[in-house]
Amino acid sequence: MARIIVITSGKGGVGKTTTAAAMAMGLAQRGNRTAVIDFDVGLRNLDLIMGCERRVVYDFANVINGEANLNQALIRDKRCEHLYILPASQTRDKEALTQDGVGRVLEELNKSYDYVICDSPAGIEHGALMAMYYADDAIVVTNPEVSSVRDSDRMLGILASKSRRALESQEPIREYLLLTRYAPDRVARGEMLGVEDVQEILALNLLSVIPDSQSVLNASNAGNPVILDHESDAGQAYADMVARYLGEERPMRFLDAERKGLFSRLFRG
């Protein structure tokens, strides 16, 4: 039985794909058979972040349309033997993913995987609905910023009303908050919403706080999920995310600004 986890947000560009790559790699490195699926039809990106873009032959839509079988389309990660990637289709047909088709693919993955990570596209339309429909768990990726928090809240409403679990009156999707692109120094100066502020509004189980970090850009430049960069703050915060998701207790890190001397505080900016 595979646990299906959707990485979603509503708002675009908040760090879903970065998170999906980290989550998938983190789970797989602990020995879980993990598949990560790119649902962003027409805007394939996950393969780039995972560094397997040159090995894409078939995609998710090919499998749904019966033009390839699942095993032909899944790309095995070169760094971790338990990890497989299913790339998105580059077609411009946004309806390439049908609910039945997605269901069939997930059903097949269900047989031999422990976790299936669904990287949702932005928005609240077809692609995003397909990504979350079959989910057991949802990681709601949020930036400490008004439109992102608002969209996350709307996405929570959608998870609670339009998912399969909601429509079939099953136990609801387990929802987690992941706060990303966090800048503690700006929070300290009152320029950015803090963890507590966002928590107070969304009231979700907080998985981790990922600092805004150059290491994320370095990782995507190289095609290595940032969780593999054990030295980096973002890599460590993502490792915490995986650990907490699996039930380990870890204190929150990277919440405080580096202490600066009075001098730099007086004369900044």
Binding site: E145, V146, V149, R150, D153, R154, G157, S161, V187, R189, G190, E191, M192, L193, G194, D197, E200, I201, R265, L266, F267, R268, G269
Partner: protein
């Protein structure tokens, strides 16, 4: 010197930065969004039909009618708002 001013302002405990404004706005907005989620599903149709009736008598824009729904603790409020054009009195 902005840095210096800021430093003394925050040291004095005055409201700092724009984050507190963001939080206040969000709290209102999210409460509003959540209330709207419980809206009865007939509202859009109701709005359309009222619009059709109004248009029998007055030339109004297609967005002239808005129906809002709010759930208070003990009762629900259905508010109907119709915007008439400047010279709506039929000549």
């Amino acid at each position: 010197m902005v840095g210096l001013l800021d430093y003394f302002r925050s040291a004095a405990g005055a409201p700092k930065g724009s984050a507190s404004v963001a939080k206040e706005r969000l709290q209102i907005l999210v409460a509003h969004d959540r209330a709207a989620r419980g809206r009865p599903s007939y509202l859009p149709k109701l709005e359309q039909e009222i619009l059709a009736v109004i248009r029998k008598y007055v030339e109004v824009d297609t967005d002239a009618v808005s129906v809002t729904y709010e759930q208070e603790e003990s009762h629900e409020i259905l508010e109907l708002n119709i915007v008439l054009p400047e010279s709506s009195a039929r000549s």
